[in-house]
Amino acid sequence: MEEEVKLHGFWPSPFSHRVIWALKLKGVKYDYIEEDFPNKSQLLLQYNPVHKKIPVLVHRGKPIAESLIILEYIEETWPEHPLLPKDAYERALARFWIKYGEEKGLAIWKLYRTTGEEFEKAMKESLEILRNLEEHALGEKKFFSGERIGIVDIAFGWIAHWLGVIEDLIGVKLLEADSFPRLHAWIKNFKEESIIKENLPDCGKVFAHLKRRREMWLASP
């Protein structure tokens, strides 16, 4: 059977990019289908009736939704250039940090669409999260996954590129180089990897996109 791989994504989405990075790192050929938000295609709604969101990976006609679940699927289906460690304990640690990032990262995304007390609360939480990543998740390693980029780096890739845009939008710098030297070094290393460098959305365009969304959020009651 043909190894048909399709990815339904949205150009400014860090979640789409996780899947792009994983597929490219493993050399998996795929067709990319740009979803025109907010006009979601019928196909997307059919593939992801539960959440109606991208990314959706379709392999041999079968859809998988949720970026982190897609990453695990990619890892199992195309084992070359592994993104997860071999050791079960190391894998558990990787999954732990991915879950942490997913759960707590929501506070950082709140920053661009809140004001007042809610914003202050999100700021406090965001700094705490970055502190945990700096000290416990990254430590002395080059990448979250060790010497090479792995699934945890891919999961946190949004911090390397999208966080900067959020900082510009709100006019506040969270990731100061002196306070977070390790995370700063990681961002530099991450973005120097050719697969990542060649597959990042234009910052200016992302800024404009998030600015429009921010205005919508702040305008709604």
Binding site: P49, V50, I64, A88, Y89
Partner: protein, 222 residues
């Protein structure tokens, strides 16, 4: 074999998920009860990030977060598998386990609130139950087929506790006529010996959650 310890909290569904997995795979372990109102230094040392249980400690190494622990157990002790072997089926199993985790939080919001927030939580829960009924449970015995697995554990953790919360609030959300598939699945899981023999006492749980509701509402109003 290396020593296996489980730090858990008796009223917590997350602790039970891990217990069921260990029991199903016949893994000998030591259970240590953790008092969340009075966290031990050991708990804080084993889980400095979340400061919560369950924590599985295998050969001295701690693993936190119940679904992460379940994946670890599955990989370390492959007998009596809890996940399908086919990568696509595995992805679907994980998708629904994540759904259970994400949406299950609403149950606690419903328990601890009144007014608008409470009504919204009820609405969200009904919507989630509808999604599960229509999309997750096909005509299978369990979520992933003929045998109980991780996805079932994730959902039992919602449904059993939801039943207690319904009693406390005097509500019935999981009506049999509205959710026939879910009801059939509930009946099935309650007959599974591993689950049946490892559920917290309903009355104790009722008392505990009732106190929790009173505490949270008081806190919110102060």
């Amino acid at each position: 074999m290396e020593e296996v310890k489980l730090h858990g909290t008796w009223p917590s569904p997350f602790s039970y998920r891990v217990k069921w997995a260990l029991q199903l795979k016949g893994i000998a372990y030591e259970y240590i009860e953790q008092d969340t109102s009075n966290k031990s230094p050991l708990l804080l040392q084993l889980n400095p990030v979340y400061k919560k249980s369950p924590i599985l400690v295998h050969g001295g190494k701690p693993i936190c977060e119940s679904l992460v622990i379940l994946e670890y157990i599955e990989e370390t002790w492959p007998e009596n598998p809890l996940l399908p072997t086919d990568p696509y089926d595995k992805a679907i199993a994980r998708f629904w386990a994540k759904f259970a985790d994400d949406k299950g939080a609403m149950m606690w919001t419903m328990l601890g609130t009144t007014g608008e927030e409470h009504e919204k939580a009820i609405k969200d829960i009904l919507e989630s139950l509808r999604t599960i009924e229509e999309h997750a449970l096909a005509e299978k015995k369990f979520f992933c087929g003929e045998k109980i697995g991780i996805t079932d554990f994730a959902f039992v953790g919602i449904v059993y506790w939801l039943e207690v919360i319904e009693e406390i609030l005097g509500l019935k959300l999981l009506e049999a006529e509205s959710f026939p598939r879910l009801h059939a699945w509930i009946k099935t899981f309650k007959e599974e010996p591993i689950i049946k023999e490892n559920l917290p006492d309903k009355e104790k749980t009722f008392a505990h959650l009732k106190r929790r509701r009173e505490r949270e509402i008081l806190l919110a109003s102060s």
